[in-house]
Amino acid sequence: MLAFVVRRILQSILVMLAVALIAFTLFRFVGDPVNQMVGADTPQAEVEKMREVLGLNDSTLVQFARFIWNALHFDFGISYQFRQSVTALLAERAPATLELALAAAAFALVVGVLMGVYCALRKDGFLAKLFQAVSLVGVSLPTFLIGILLIYLFSVALNWLPSNGRGQVVKVGDWWTTGFLTVSGWKALILPAITLGLFQMTLIMRLVRSEMLEVLRTDYIKFARARGLTTRAIHFGHALKNTLIPVITITGLQLGSIIAFAIITETVFNWPGMGLLFLKAVQNVDIPIMAAYLMLIGFLFVMINLIVDLLYAFVDPRLRAAMQG
């Protein structure tokens, strides 16, 4: 068991190092940091001095080690566009993205499970067929198109909800800002959260439906029926409970995708999060922000995969036995 955990953690560190290498290559070779900082009229001697100060004359290996060391201290350098510390920029925008991702995941989970259960229980009903068809169309529609459609319906035509920004935010603690405490914050969250969560919702709906149909055929459900339990107790107490484990796993694994896909949603709704910052960085070739964002998302994905794998090992006795044997 311990050997498995250690090996899995070592693997994750290796993947992180690979991501760091890509980020470092970006940082060091794609955009020369000095060229971005100096003007055309800066004397050559000063440029050389700057190179020396920044350590750009050291060997590549030393520079890579320094890059990792700095990354471990959350130091990703200065943004070319904003002339500010990249870490501060990201930290300032992290709450917006995380709140959006959280709301989207909650929406996807709740609505997806409800629709999935309904589709499984009323397999041939009209509404179930409709849900299925809508989910197929939903998968085919690009995220940004769904966002535009929602804006047109609820912001332009009906004028119910805002289409832009986070609404009024409240400062909590040192650096966290939240939109959860104001009415305008909640209103602003609805459309982006639906847009971002819709794809995951259809995914969860299909998963719950197929898992539930499978579980309903098993012997213990038949036995529960024979015992004379109420239909409600069978469906929700027995069947649903057993379908939720894969659902929670998938949702967990999708959390990283939700944060990554937030780039698109944030652009459509002009949501001041990390994704929008990253996109501006790609448009303006702001390498430090790109490198830092890459490291951040990489870390997120590696951690999520690691936690899921370790949890499986702890939870599933068969896996545990296989590892010892």
């Binding site: 197929l136 940004f144 332009v156 698109i264 070739v285």
Partner: protein, 335 residues
């Protein structure tokens, strides 16, 4: 195949009825049949004829491809020729709405470009970028998969680890990143001309993993079979064995991946263009058109965004339906 050969049946019935209707029953080796004849007998064709949804999807896709190929002939104007555009015609609604102009069936955009013509040209660019991107991905993936599966050892481990790492990230993120890197590398002057090339490259490098995994798996099975051993004993060079002997036997399943990925690639291109890192407004794809149209949503000019959006949605839906059908039709378990 469990289907009886139709020619055998025909031969049998003629023999039974004793009527030699017209053509004499040919003896000896069967006459080689044309490609179309063979296609009509295949299971795929039968399954295609049985699925109405697949037929509709195929019809829509063929029509759209046709429209894209012959865009210069079908369009009422060249939307990128400044001499044909008049600002006086800008922001006209579709022909059937009040204030519409019969010359511009789907209305015009803010610069007076005919939406119908712009969509045809946009469709063309979207299909070219998506199609070439997917083909590039297949080329990279199949090559790496063949090498990994056939050579094995460290080469295999290296390629597959890269694939594993890449697979943990969403393709759109990788495409964005590659796009960003190339934009940094390309000299500022050529940005617009190279935009299409950069997009195809980003899509190709983001979608190769699935092909590599599939091909590697079947290559590892095939390479131990007798015919490969025989080819090796004859002394054929390794690249020849891989290309002439192994490849034809492992390439089948990639067709399904190709179709399903085409939809994804079109979405990726549209998304990148929408985000402003894809094709510039001077050579707009459907995504660029939507991105332009979105700005006019609040002024009530809904048609500038609605028609390109609808075209994109229908195109992707048709490709996805075709992909789903092909996957089921080629899956031996479902037959």
């Amino acid at each position: 195949m469990s289907h009886p050969n139709p020619e055998e049946i025909k031969g049998l019935t003629t023999a039974l009825t004793g009527a030699s209707a017209g053509a004499a029953p040919h003896l000896g080796p069967p006459r080689p049949r044309s490609l179309i004849e063979r296609m009509k007998d295949s299971d795929i064709w039968l399954s295609f004829k049985a699925s109405k949804l697949a037929m509709v999807a195929a019809l829509v896709f063929v029509l759209m491809t046709f429209g894209a190929i012959f865009a210069p002939l079908l369009a009422t104007m060249n939307p990128f020729d400044p001499a044909q555009i008049f600002l006086a015609d800008s922001s006209l609604p579709p022909a059937w709405a009040t204030g519409g102009d019969p010359r511009f069936f789907l209305g015009t955009d803010d610069q007076g470009r005919d939406m119908y013509s712009a969509i045809l040209y946009g469709l063309r660019i979207s299909l070219i970028v998506g199609g070439l991107g997917v083909l590039l991905a297949a080329l990279i993936g199949i090559t790496l998969g063949l090498v990994a599966g056939y050579v094995g050892g460290r080469v295999d481990a290296l390629i597959m680890r890269i694939a594993d790492v890449q697979l943990t990230f969403p393709a759109i993120l990788i495409a964005l990143l590659i796009d960003g890197v190339f934009r940094a590398l390309v000299k500022t002057g050529n940005k617009e001309e190279s935009a299409m090339f950069v997009l195809i490259l980003s899509i190709g490098l983001s979608f190769w993993v699935q092909y590599a995994r599939t091909i590697r798996g079947s290559t590892m099975v095939e390479k131990n079979k007798d015919y490969v051993q025989a080819a090796r004993l004859v002394g054929l060079p390794v690249p020849i064995i891989m290309l002439r002997h192994v490849l034809p036997n492992v390439i089948g399943p990639t067709l399904v991946i190709l179709t399903i990925n085409l939809g994804l690639a079109i979405i990726t291109e549209a998304t990148l263009s929408f985000l402003g890192v894809g094709l510039p407004p001077t050579q707009p794809s459907l995504g660029t058109l939507i991105s332009i149209g979105q700005r006019y949503l609040f002024s009530g000019d809904w048609w500038i965004v609605a028609f390109p959006g609808l075209t994109l949605a229908i195109l992707v839906l048709a490709v996805n339906l075709l992909g789903d059908w092909l996957r089921d039709a080629l899956n031996p378990k479902l037959r």
